[in-house]
């Protein structure tokens, strides 16, 4: 990855690809306002897999304790943007 910080749009696009890969949710369904659990039907174990892939892709750490706070796609985008 380039050293330049990814923009929020880039993070969202990257997350959407990961969510599609892990959970089979169409990537254009993955928008900032969506709740992972309630809207996208993603469970806590798929969230762990998404976190692992997001860590690799964006070079951030997303500990399990943090994961529980990332309720919406927007929460995840903000977390990555802040911590990358």
């Amino acid at each position: 990855m380039a050293n330049a910080k990814p923009t929020e749009e880039e993070i969202l696009a990257g997350l959407a690809e990961i969510v599609e890969e892990v959970a089979g949710v169409e990537s254009d369904e993955v928008t900032a306002d969506k709740s992972f659990v309630d809207d996208l039907d993603i469970d806590s174990l798929s969230m762990v897999e998404i976190a692992v892939q997001a860590e690799d892709r964006f070079e951030v750490k997303i500990p399990d304790a943090e994961l529980a706070n990332l309720k919406t796609v927007g929460d995840a985008v903000n977390y990555v943007a802040k911590n990358v």
Partner: protein, 324 residues
Amino acid sequence: MTAIRLSQGAAASRILGIGSTQPERVVTNDELSTIMDTDDQWIRERVGIRERRFGGTEDTVVSMAVEAGSKAIAASGLTPSDVDTVIVANCTTTVPIPNAAAQVADLIGIKAAGGFDLNAACAGFCYALASASDMVRAGSATRVLVIGSEKLTDVVDPVDRSTAIIFADGAGAAVVGPSDEPGIGPVAWGTAGDLAETITMPNGRHIYQEGQAVFRWATTKIAPIALRALELAGLQPSDVDILVPHQANLRIVEAIAKKLRQKGAREDMVVADDIVTSGNTSSASIPMAMDHMRAAGRIHSGDVALLVGFGAGLSYAGQVVICP
């Protein structure tokens, strides 16, 4: 100078036969739902288990080891006196003394066998298999009975839904003996003691685990160990006919299979899914899965199987074997 003479071992080792046993009593998800706040759909989706076996008071680590071990000896076309060493991998005997191996050897009818228990939790069978293989090759044993036997229900809080829905009882065994051609590859093993606290027994009686931490570790760190075992054996992912990961959680099994396929394992590679009807039986799960798949005609003599165990410690070990 006085020189010590060394023993001469076999050129190579292989698995001669396998066997397994489970207690009679089948416990469904619906039955568990009557005693704790859980349900069939949740268990199937998160863990992949449909039913498992729970032992009664007559089923012990020793009794199940004796049955699985006797079957493995018979499947090898041998009698107990052909075996000279017994390793019982287990982590669920409730007292450490006496160990299981000496009693198991005696009850099977193996006189004065070398014997010891080995605790590497759910990686125990792969650790024991590697030890047995090296013993045969070094000449310290001729034929080794390697058993994984566990009565998890003795160390699980029966109403704790985070563990009681996962763990179960059973035993699996293999006889390891000499071979002209290598039938057991080099082991890739290791530990991650920095994560020791993720699977513990805080009250000294019941298992407690940090489920998501263990899930994260298993879905990221174990496929590379399996690939390392292949590399040590000089094989490619595409050579693997059967993948037998420890049956911890079907989602973990599938994640490991997916990673191996991304590295070139075949789509038609058979992936062990014995957890669906057996639950997580710790060190017993790998040989039991192999035995059930053999009985179901899903694996055949000569198939290349990739085994990988992982669990408390944390500990892990994997190797390639040729199915007997």
